[in-house]
């Protein structure tokens, strides 16, 4: 059974058909890419997958379970985590606290136990600190644990966002234009990071990207979206050499 199976997904905004008959199948452990010209509807697809929008038609099966209609919070609990096109960190929290926020649903104690500082508070907070530092060390951010998230350089902010998403222990990680705003060196480092995440965390990854070097470098399969519809899909080199795809990007 594929980890993610999407069939006949569609949504309209007013009179505009933003996504139409979208389908997708991702096997567990794959590194999958969603590409297409600007305005094709890629982020809309992500928003549909994470429950930000409710589709007009279609099913989204995560491990066989239909998650259409579920709220974002429940979809995250079911196993999908994401990063955003414009980095959305908790700016006034420390790096460590950003990750600990991601651990929210996996390390629990009640509000009262927190206010009255009962033993459970100390036990769970310690476990959270350890787990968060563990994750930060993996991404080489542990030395900046106490830095305010807003003060990190751009590339590290991206890594922090990914770290936080991983803290939620997802089955599927959605990355929305992770290389946006990065120079070639940073992009190369990012490619390593994403591959590493897939290997070390046994993660299934779906990413949206415009940077073709990154796409051809790490994605195993692609779906091309154009005007809200699937234009082509299949393994990366076939898709990238497809004349229709080339035409869509470069125009007539």
């Amino acid at each position: 059974m594929a980890l993610l199976e999407v069939n006949n997904l569609g949504i309209s905004f007013g009179g505009l058909r933003a996504v139409n008959e979208f389908h997708l199948k991702i096997e567990k452990g794959r590194l999958y890419g969603l590409i297409g010209p600007n305005g094709a509807g890629k982020t809309t697809v992500f928003n549909l997958l994470t429950g930000v929008y409710k589709p007009n038609e279609g099913v989204i099966l995560l491990d066989g379970e239909n998650i259409v209609g579920k709220k974002t919070i429940d979809i995250n609990k079911a196993g999908i985590a994401r990063t955003f096109q414009n980095i959305r960190l908790f700016k006034d929290l420390s790096v460590l606290d950003n990750v600990k926020a991601g651990l929210h649903n996996h390390y629990k104690y009640s509000t009262l136990e927190g206010i009255f500082r009962l033993p459970k508070y100390f036990k769970v907070e310690k476990a959270m600190d350890e787990r968060a530092m563990e994750l930060l060390a993996v991404f080489d951010l542990d030395k900046e644990a106490d830095t305010l998230a807003a003060n990190l350089p751009y590339g590290k902010q991206r890594k922090l966002e990914i770290t936080r998403a991983l803290a939620t222990e997802p089955k599927l990680l959605l990355l929305d234009e992770p290389a946006a705003g990065m120079n070639p060196n940073e992009t190369k480092e990012l490619m390593e990071t994403i591959r590493f995440v897939r290997d070390e965390f046994h993660m299934t990854i779906l990413l949206i990207e415009h940077d073709m070097k990154l796409v051809s470098g790490i994605c195993e399969e692609l779906t091309v979206l154009n005007f809200g519809e699937v234009l082509a899909e299949g393994n990366t080199s076939d898709v990238l050499n497809n004349p229709e795809v080339i035409k869509a990007y470069l125009g007539e």
Partner: protein, 356 residues
């Protein structure tokens, strides 16, 4: 972990600060250095400090602008005063009665916080502000038309006047509409007030540095991202808002049990009060609890200390407020301050700050 002790240390400093200020004031009072006018301000001051810290929970930690905080204070004040007045015979022990009054005032305000929070917290920034202001005014209005009396048959309610209560011989009017509640036992003392400040700090500071506090601040910083990591927005917004309201209710209890007559006027429970507390919070630093305490103390005492300049004191207060705001928040002033302070540091031989 080193990080833990940093926040714990900071919290301890705050508690210590309150205790030290309390000790200093007590000494000054007992050696006769404090005028009776200022002494009369001590209990209300405790209420204002708690109001400032609790509003900072909503404004600084949750990140929402509430202009109706005085409404929750009003709820706490009137419910507790009503209870105390009714329970004077039933519970003669003042300590026990006051403790119960605190619980009742806090609970009533907290429940109002939840009821109001449910529709209101969905609104955006400025709309939320104006709706909270509206609720504050409505609460004050309702209290002013409330008439409650008690006789042998039980309690009677009316929204018209005290006559319509239809009380029998020997019955007493407890809540007398715009004339409020008279004769609340004056159980609030400065010591109790300070203890309640410490309790408030304990609750707020511990909440901030806990899993729930992180969730609340995550919502403040980026609601959409908070949702994406599985944080229940409504639950935590309501939590912060109702705890804040509850503590405002406690402040109301303190305030009510210090007055012979408790009435709901624009001055003490209207938007004027809500705004005054907001000024404390902003001036003290949004999110900075210690700052709220200091600002509340200074800004409450300042008009009194300026009494010598009696006619001009509110004017001076207004000017001080404007100047302080410009000095602390204007980007040009901040630039000037940083240039000046780095020049000062270099002069003293310390290593120069890296050129920006």
């Amino acid at each position: 972990m080193k990080k833990m002790s940093k926040t714990t240390r900071s919290n301890l400093i705050t508690y210590l600060m309150v205790i030290v200020i309390f000790a200093v004031v007590q000494i000054m009072v007992s050696t006769g250095h404090v005028s009776s006018l200022l002494q009369g301000l001590l209990v209300p001051l405790c209420a204002y400090v708690i109001l400032a810290v609790s509003l900072n929970l909503t404004v600084g930690i949750l990140g929402e602008l509430s202009l109706g905080h005085a409404g929750f204070m009003c709820v706490g004040a009137f419910t507790s005063a009503f209870f105390s007045k009714c329970a004077v015979e039933a519970v003669p022990a003042a300590g026990v009665r006051y403790f119960l009054a605190l619980l009742i005032g806090a609970a009533a305000a907290g429940i109002c916080g939840i009821l109001i929070g449910i529709p209101v917290l969905r609104l955006k920034g400025d709309y939320l502000a104006i709706v909270t202001l509206a609720f504050g005014e409505i609460i004050k209005n309702i209290v002013n038309i409330l008439f409650i009396g008690r006789d042998d048959k039980g309690f009677h309610f009316s929204t018209k006047d005290s006559m319509s209560l239809g009380l029998e011989e020997g019955g007493k009017v407890i809540v007398n509409g715009p004339q409020g509640i008279t004769g609340t036992p004056k159980d609030s003392t400065f010591v109790v007030g300070v203890i309640l400040i410490l309790v408030t700090l304990f609750i707020v500071l511990n909440l901030m540095h806990s899993r729930s506090g992180r969730a609340i601040m995550a919502i403040r910083d980026n609601r959409i991202a908070a949702e994406s990591v599985g944080i229940n927005i409504t639950k935590y917004k309501l939590m912060a808002f109702s705890i804040s309201a509850s503590l405002a209710g406690v402040a109301g209890v303190i305030y009510a049990h210090n007055l012979a007559t408790l009435t709901a006027q624009p001055k003490n429970f209207g938007y004027n009060m809500s705004i005054m507390i907001l000024v404390f919070v902003v001036l003290g630093g949004i999110g900075n609890m210690r700052g709220s305490i200091i600002a509340a103390i200074i800004l409450t005492l300042l008009p009194e200390l300026l009494r010598g300049l009696s006619d001009y004191r509110m004017l001076i207060y207004a000017v001080v407020l404007i100047v302080m705001m410009l000095f602390n928040w204007s980007p040009k002033a901040i630039e000037w301050r940083e240039k000046y302070s780095s020049r000062f540091r270099r002069k003293n031989g310390k290593s120069a700050k890296e050129a920006a």
